[in-house]
Point group: C2
């Protein structure tokens, strides 16, 4: 049944082929500096075609002559290696958390060139005030990086709908129906960041961006399930190297999967959701720390490391609930790996034992091995990294779109 659907593609055009070949060349060089000859050999393009394509990428500021390439062993002068331009366009990432704001800039290779963070309680705060602070932070990050961002992506703790840049519901902020992208532009102008206010802005759920960061930077296979705690509990389903977003963009709401259907009522209106066992408020309550503000993940990790029995029991209970929900997800999705990310990554030593017991006991109709559950090394940095890196990956994946846009602007 694995049909190759080649319909609806239309006849190939010369322009479309050049655009595809620009991507082919830049994609090769993104893996590491390469001479034109090496690019030609790897892509099957002629040397003349590679030279012409490289010229366009150099002009667009995406490539740089990186020095001498590895000598090929053949007689003659080795070609100059081409590399991604370290001063090329950057990716600007932003994050709105319940207790913090953050911004960062990465260069074309994904390296972080500036990372800014501000602790600020955002729960119940007016979007305009939050976005004013965020604009300042973005301005600072862009200035410090020395790069010219090509786009801005924003991670939010809520559901982002089909309408561009619209946060439909962010219960942990108390927001609903906030056109974040549209409101961020004037805030950027007011902060003196005129040059950022015209950028394309993408808004996405933090768990989606955390999952993409894991895919792009975490060395994961193309099929995995990423469970994370940020403001709430989220997850990202990655299938064939792509994020499964769902028909309306709401996929991954693991926090409201029923764990004990007759369990305690949840703020969402249902009963016994995962959030009632493994969410911030539930774990703090079980640990006897109800209502504590600030860095709950850091606090729990510190107390657990110190052997606090109430905290250890609370984390074990959360791990069991995560294991039950994850077992259901594994039975439905058959991912190659389960990845524990976001705040859970820091709490993994105390969550994993109970989680593994539930997974081993409930993932039974197929092979399951303990080491298919791993811990993210990106942890809570994931969503912001995913936001910024997504911007530059989009350029590398389709440089013709970027250089076309650039020349329109000039």
């Amino acid at each position: 049944m694995r049909e190759t659907d080649t319909r609806n593609s239309g006849p190939a055009s010369q322009q479309g082929m050049r655009r595809a070949n620009l991507a082919l060349v830049l994609g090769q060089i993104a893996e590491g500096p390469r001479s034109r000859a090496e690019v030609a050999a790897a892509t099957g393009l002629t040397r003349a075609a590679v030279s012409s394509l490289a010229e366009e990428l150099l002009t667009a500021g995406l490539l740089t002559e990186a020095g001498q390439a590895t000598p090929s062993g053949r007689v003659g002068r080795p070609g100059t290696a081409l590399g991604l331009a370290p001063d090329g366009p950057g990716g600007l990432g932003a994050e709105i958390g319940v207790q913090h704001l953050a911004a960062c800039v990465v260069d074309l290779s994904g390296e972080v060139r500036s990372w800014q963070r501000m602790e600020v309680p955002n729960r119940g705060r007016r979007p305009a005030a939050v976005l004013a602070d965020l604009a300042e932070l973005l301005h600072r990050a862009a200035r410090e990086s020395g790069l010219r961002p090509a786009g801005l992506a924003l991670a939010v703790p809520g559901l982002v709908g089909a309408a561009e840049g619209m946060v439909e519901r962010a219960p942990n902020l108390g927001w609903s129906g906030v056109p974040v992208a549209a409101e961020l532009r004037p805030a950027l102008r007011a902060a003196g960041a005129e040059e950022l206010s015209g950028l394309p802005i993408e808004v996405d759920n933090e768990a989606n961006l955390g999952g993409l960061a894991e895919l792009w930077l975490g060395g994961r296979p193309g099929d995995f399930f990423h469970l994370s705690a940020e403001a709430g509990i989220g997850s990202a389903i990655v299938v064939g190297g792509r994020l499964l977003r769902g028909a309306r963009g709401y996929a991954g709401e693991l926090g409201h999967v029923p764990v004990h259907p007759d369990g305690p009522p949840c703020a969402c209106g249902a009963r016994g959701c995962l959030e009632q066992y493994a969410g911030e408020a539930a774990v703090l309550r079980e640990a006897g720390l109800e209502g504590v503000l600030g860095d709950w993940v850091g606090l729990l990790a510190e107390r657990a490391a110190a052997g606090d029995t109430a905290v250890l029991a609370a984390l074990s209970g959360a791990g069991a609930a995560l294991g039950i929900a994850a077992a259901g997800a594994v039975n439905l999705l058959d991912p190659a790996e389960l990845v524990l990310g976001g705040g859970y990554a820091e709490l993994a030593p105390w969550l994993l034992p109970a989680m593994r017991v539930e997974l081993a006991g409930r993932v039974t109709v197929r092979p399951w091995a303990d080491d298919w559950l791993t811990v993210s090394e990106l942890g809570r940095r994931g969503p912001l990294l995913g936001a910024a890196v997504g911007v530059v990956r989009a350029i590398v994946a389709d440089p013709g779109h970027f250089s076309g846009r650039g020349s329109e602007g000039v």
Copy 2:
């Protein structure tokens, strides 16, 4: 983050373009008879190119001159319409059930040309005996259809692994590690169906094929979640018009999603799986019909229609459990629709009320409307239809592959 990944595609080749254009032309005509001029207008290809491509498809036996096309209003003789060849290659489908075997043949347009069914208790039976009966049935279906099948697809009630044609586990048959495709070939020869024994054979899980049938024949959108009862409880996750198969091909095991984690032990080794509430044995037990053999779905529907209170209560309980598991799946996957299929379609009048209560109460963090849960019209015919139709769809999607294969054979 919706990047267009145009890398790794390599330079386009002339041969690849012709193959894509063959698919483009056949795909147009598959939607209904078309003149060459209409195909040219719809595809953007020149009339000369369409004529050349059509000639190749006529020679391969995939097209036929279907008579006069709708006059275009222009002066001159209207072109002859091209249609899918009614005597072209067929799709041969087969199904191994716990209580039955079935085979069917569809023509290129997906119309059923033969449908064969045999009631036979297969639980615990040797694969060789089952496959001998199935081979007879396939032989009869192919003969009756008058078509020459281009491939065979087999629906099985079990997990099909990455190894071609291998049923890894079919607990309801008592099979494990059965190389069904390899064993079916000699059975076909022994049944006198020499011409079928050399066909490409695909083996797939019945719930996967039921979901694909719903996608192809049920008029569904490209994103839906299909829950079905056949031998066990299965599901199919369709995303962007494609079946989500999982990293190892085991996705969709809804029957072992935990519903009440501390519930009764399941044969799989876990506790409280959906199968313990909505599977055949569980529903029959609750209905006071434990151990009844034969057509359990028909029996329950008959008793429920007659107002049998034990049966009504059992189906309501099954509906509630299905609703809890489905709510989790909706929160994770955000499908555009939920479809109740397989045997559940016939039981829908008695399952739906409780199912809707659970869904409405548990799908709360996003919009949810009652009419997003619908009932399959294909019902228990889905898997066999999906098997046969998949064969002809693969031909229409890539006719260059078929005509290439055909000419090698001649």
